[in-house]
Symmetry: C2
Subunit: 180 residues, 2 copies
């Protein structure tokens, strides 16, 4: 299924991913009419759903490379000071790439196509949290799960409300704290 045998099938699959990426850019990954993805790719709806089990699988395919690159970035950041903070900024940016993406990620089961793509990101976060704690840069009781959730929370609220704050501002509040 992931790499179809016939050449027309491979071509159509690539077209579908490209069309979906375009439409996600334009109208977001949430309310998009999936039939439009098929139409833009020049295929029928049936073809769309033979290549992707459901909407989540399509989203996972579209953002997959982006998430993989993100996870790879963690290695570069490791040695730098305040790596965790920089990492979270990138994390928020990536999961805000398309409108509705955070929501899809949050509601994706860990074993689904989208959730699976996130494992490397979670592992990278855990690594950076561990290092930041060792350096004494962050509070000792901070967990990777909490960091991911705070990032998702920021990404969500920024796309849910109008006008959006800058993500940087909310992250500044969270990292440096609201209290004085």
């Amino acid at each position: 299924m992931s790499t179809p045998r016939r050449t027309d099938a491979r071509r159509n699959r690539a077209r579908l991913v490209a069309a979906a990426a375009e439409l996600f850019d334009e109208v977001g990954a949430d309310a998009t009419a999936m039939n439009d993805v098929a139409r833009r790719a020049g295929v029928g709806p049936g073809t769309l759903w033979r290549h992707f089990a459901d909407k989540d699988a399509l989203i996972a395919e579209v953002v997959g490379d982006s998430l993989d690159n993100l996870a790879a970035l963690a290695a570069d950041l490791r040695a730098e000071p305040r790596a965790l903070r920089r990492w979270v900024v990138e994390l928020v940016r990536h999961i805000s790439r398309y409108r509705g993406l955070v929501d899809a990620i949050a509601h994706a089961g860990p074993d689904g196509p989208l959730g699976g793509r996130c494992h490397a990101v979670e592992a990278a976060t855990a690594d950076l949290v561990e290092r930041a704690r060792a350096q004494g840069e962050v509070r000792a009781d901070l967990t990777a799960t909490e960091v991911v959730r705070l990032a998702m929370a920021v990404a969500w609220v920024n796309e849910a409300v109008t006008p959006p704050d800058t993500a940087d501002r909310l992250l500044s509040l969270i990292f440096e704290g609201v209290d004085r």
Copy 2:
């Protein structure tokens, strides 16, 4: 519309609100089949939608009293120490009352039925932020809008992910800060 003339209409309206509150408790305010609300109230779908312009109006009616009580609470908190922190805890609790409620609030236009119900809450937040800043309890550049958004972000992430953290834990991270 808000107070129908005929007694049967008033009775049906009350039944609809009660039925909606029950269903929101059971399955949340998001994916609820609105027809079920009508059926549980013992009326037809047409009756539901004559009393409430749309789903948002129904939600607003169900949570209206709760939000009004919340806004009233702000007055009691004003004089207490760390009033803002306590306020935000209550704020998160109220907007997490039903699954899907935060989402509905976030996407409600400020002039819609739900958005309108939130104005008093926003005003109360602004008041408490102002006082907290004056006391030097929080950073001087903190705005009420930011506080509301952080509360919504926490409420959302707690219902979006499994297993949920406690809201208190995330609020602790946010108020006291992640950095050391």
